[in-house]
């Protein structure tokens, strides 16, 4: 198959990119490993405080199908259940499809999104211990209850929004806890860091309490506040949030039957004396998100480690060009942010590519760049507290790299 642009990932970033490119007459193919397009938009269902009140439901499933229809109508080919496993220079992409085995393309946009980080609490491999992403997908996309009595381990904006969605679906959510501290989950077990991260989700609908909570955290957070948390039970829409308790073990013979809970000190240390058993049949583990960058390594992109963006990401400039000519990035592969930012980045990557092909003017690229900034401000969910600083570090690293390259050349 010969195309102008291959896009890896049919999520919000990838589909929006494909639409922008197809509009300008380019031949575009999008591949995705899932069985339907939409990426993680498919599991999203929440009230967005930035939308008008009477019509404020962000239903990712509907948005995904609208975007897909638009792309297909413009002539975009979407290949689902398809993975790219090898990319040769300028570019031959080998895919797992049995009829189309390779795609020859002039340019590539990598929009592979993110993967969930594991949260290895003792007993986490038992049947009934699932990731928060699985909980979201099964609840909102498949309409299947993952269990009847559920606890969450890992308290963050994503896990709270999924817990609210599950409660709404009629599942009994008994509470949200921190994971027991270990070498692997140190930050996730710290009540103070957890509270500071939560403050960023303070715009998240639909709970007023959450917003008040955010404001009070945005002020000065002291250990005194955390000491108070021991006595004051915080509830978000009826779901108890235990910032001073940790799940130390998931128990059960054949499958999850209960969790062991111990108290945590302000600094996140376990109080070994007291323990409690809570009977549940499902545990949702939330370890956070990590950019999925394998494909950028396949094309030999220069990589950089920027924890404020979520981890190791391909080095790119503000217009989403990587260090490899003809390879662009968009969405969570550039850093962990919400679907709105991913969509705006999808457009920017497309316009950046179109500019390099001399098919659009510079002011259109600038406009798309500014839309990313707007989307960032309007996002109801923020996953990494210092994402803006992370973006600045990326800009500096890009300039530094260009400088080095300039000397070499």
């Amino acid at each position: 198959m010969d195309v102008d642009v291959l896009i890896v990932g049919a999520g919000p970033a990838g589909i929006v990119s494909s639409i922008e490119l197809a509009k300008r007459g380019l031949k575009v193919v999008v591949i995705d490993e899932y069985y339907k397009p939409g990426g993680r938009l498919l599991g999203q269902l929440y009230e967005d405080p930035n939308l008008p009140k009477e019509n404020n439901l962000w239903d990712g499933k509907v948005i995904a199908s609208k975007l897909t229809e638009e792309a297909v109508a413009l002539g975009v080919t979407i290949l689902c259940e398809t993975t790219a496993w090898k990319i040769e220079e300028q570019f031959i992409v080998y895919i797992t499809d049995t009829t189309v085995k390779e795609i020859h393309t002039k340019a590539i946009i990598l929009a592979t999104g993110a993967i969930e980080k594991a949260l290895p609490v003792k007993g986490w491999t038992k049947v009934g211990a699932i990731s928060v992403g699985a909980a979201q997908t099964f609840t909102n996309l498949h309409n299947v209850k993952v269990g009847s009595n559920v606890v969450f381990v890992g308290i963050d904006p994503l896990s709270i929004s999924v817990a609210l969605e599950m409660k709404h679906a009629g599942i009994n959510v008994l509470g949200m806890f921190l994971p027991a501290p270990s070498m692997l989950v140190s930050e996730k077990s710290n009540p103070k860091i957890t509270l500071e991260t939560l403050a960023l989700a303070s715009n998240l609908a639909p709970n007023k309490l959450f917003r008040i909570f955010g404001k009070f955290v945005k002020g000065k957070i002291s250990n005194l506040v955390l000491s108070m948390l021991k006595f004051n039970l915080i509830k978000i829409n009826g779901i108890p949030i235990y910032l001073r308790k940790a799940v130390t073990e998931i128990n059960g013979k054949r499958k999850v039957e209960s969790v062991t809970i111990k108290k945590l000190s302000v600094k996140g240390q376990i109080n070994r004396d007291q323990e409690k058993t809570l009977y549940v049949n499902t545990v949702c583990l939330s370890g956070g998100l990590l950019p999925l960058v394998d494909s950028s390594q396949l094309v030999n992109c220069e990589m950089v480690d920027i924890p404020k963006l979520g981890g190791i990401v391909p080095l790119h400039n503000q217009f989403l060009k990587t260090t490899i000519d003809g390879v662009y990035v968009a969405g969570n592969i550039t850093g962990i942010e919400g679907a709105k930012v991913a969509m705006a980045q999808g457009k920017l990557a497309a316009l950046s590519l179109l500019y390099d092909l001399q098919l659009v003017e510079q002011d259109e690229v600038i406009e798309a760049f500014e839309s990313v900034e707007v989307a960032r401000i309007e996002s109801p969910l923020q996953f990494y507290p210092e994402i803006k600083i992370g973006r600045q570090i990326m800009k500096d690293k890009w300039e530094e790299f260009q400088g080095v390259r300039g000397v070499v050349n």
Partner: protein
């Protein structure tokens, strides 16, 4: 937050039956195997080849391979990504040497 009804107009005609470890399971067209199993109360999909411990859904989107099973004779299919088909045979048996040379 409003939830939508399941968007299947005629559930009867959309029913799909398949075999899971000698049991007949009925799901709805468009469901992945793991979803159809879960809505029938089946959570254990296979057993760990090393320890024999039961395993089920973990990530639900094809990354972790915990939900793999043999589907119509092909081992290590991810049941969270593989859609049900009438008469499909799904088995917990796994041959981890499949494809090895």
């Amino acid at each position: 937050m409003k939830r939508k009804e399941i968007p299947y107009k005629d559930l009867k005609s959309d029913k799909v039956s398949f075999i899971f470890n000698d049991i007949t399971v009925t799901g709805v067209r468009g469901q992945p195997i793991a979803v159809a199993l879960m809505s029938n109360g089946i959570y254990t999909i296979r057993h760990c080849e090393v320890t024999g411990e039961p395993r089920g859904i973990y990530c639900g989107i094809g990354h972790c391979y915990e939900c793999r099973a043999t589907v119509n004779g092909i081992p290590s299919k991810r049941t969270c990504l593989t859609l049900i088909e009438e008469g499909m045979i799904v088995s917990s048996d796994t041959d981890i040497s499949y494809g090895a040379e």
